[in-house]
């Protein structure tokens, strides 16, 4: 299992959603970002699992509704 690294998380957001790093803030949310739909959400989850060598529970996948929450949830797996 890898350690928590916010840059890796942000890079995955930028790469999958195709948005610049300055747009990835804690308030960036699933229901207000047009690029962040269910397909992109699952692609990001798959990338988190591969990069950090973790398996994320379904409830946590659903709870990842904004960037701040994503960091909080991943921190739980990586500490």
């Amino acid at each position: 299992m890898a350690s928590f690294d916010e840059n890796t998380i942000k890079n995955i957001f930028c790469e999958v959603l195709g948005i610049p790093a300055e747009e990835v803030t804690d308030t960036l949310a699933y229901n207000s970002c047009v690029q962040w739909d269910s397909l992109k959400h699952l692609q990001m989850v798959a990338m988190f699992e591969e990069k950090f060598d973790i398996e994320i529970d379904m409830d946590d996948i659903i709870a990842m509704e904004n960037y701040g929450k994503v960091k909080e949830i991943l921190h739980k797996y990586l500490t």
């Binding site: 995955i12 790469e15 999958v16 269910s38 397909l39 699952l42 692609q43 990001m44 989850v45 798959a46 990338m47 699992e49 591969e50 379904m58 996948i61 659903i62």
Partner: protein
């Protein structure tokens, strides 16, 4: 006593064309079964079939959600065609609900569509 759930989804086939993209490859590996991948990747246009399968999973999840069933997620929903080519849904996990799931898929070169009806017996 029966309850009926419905769900539908539409997907842009182009979004399923980039098989070499690491995020997309990881997504496929996690959310599709090997049987589904073998079927879709054997076709001349894998993207159309992947998009239709994904739309099918979304439609099933929406239909389940309309019945307040929220514990069944993409990786355990398997869509396989029967001998007549009709898509059939298998739920590859234990669940207590008595469900009859019917799914219809369609795709053109550009879009894939799915419609699902689930009958839940009390």
């Amino acid at each position: 006593m029966q309850d009926i759930g419905i769900g539908t989804d539409i997907e842009d086939v182009r979004r399923f064309e980039n098989l070499r993209d690491p995020a997309f490859a990881a997504f496929l590996k996690k959310n599709f079964t090997q049987t589904e991948l073998d079927y879709c990747l054997s076709k001349d246009s894998p993207a159309s079939h992947l998009a239709a399968r994904y739309a099918g999973k979304e439609a099933v999840i929406k239909a389940l959600s309309s019945l307040n069933i929220t514990h069944i997620f993409y990786p355990v929903i398997e869509i396989v065609n029967n001998e007549r080519g009709v898509p059939c849904v298998r739920i590859n996990t234990e669940y207590n609900e008595k469900l009859h799931i019917k799914l219809s898929l369609s795709h053109s070169s550009g879009m894939a569509l799915a419609f699902c009806i689930i009958i839940q017996e009390a």
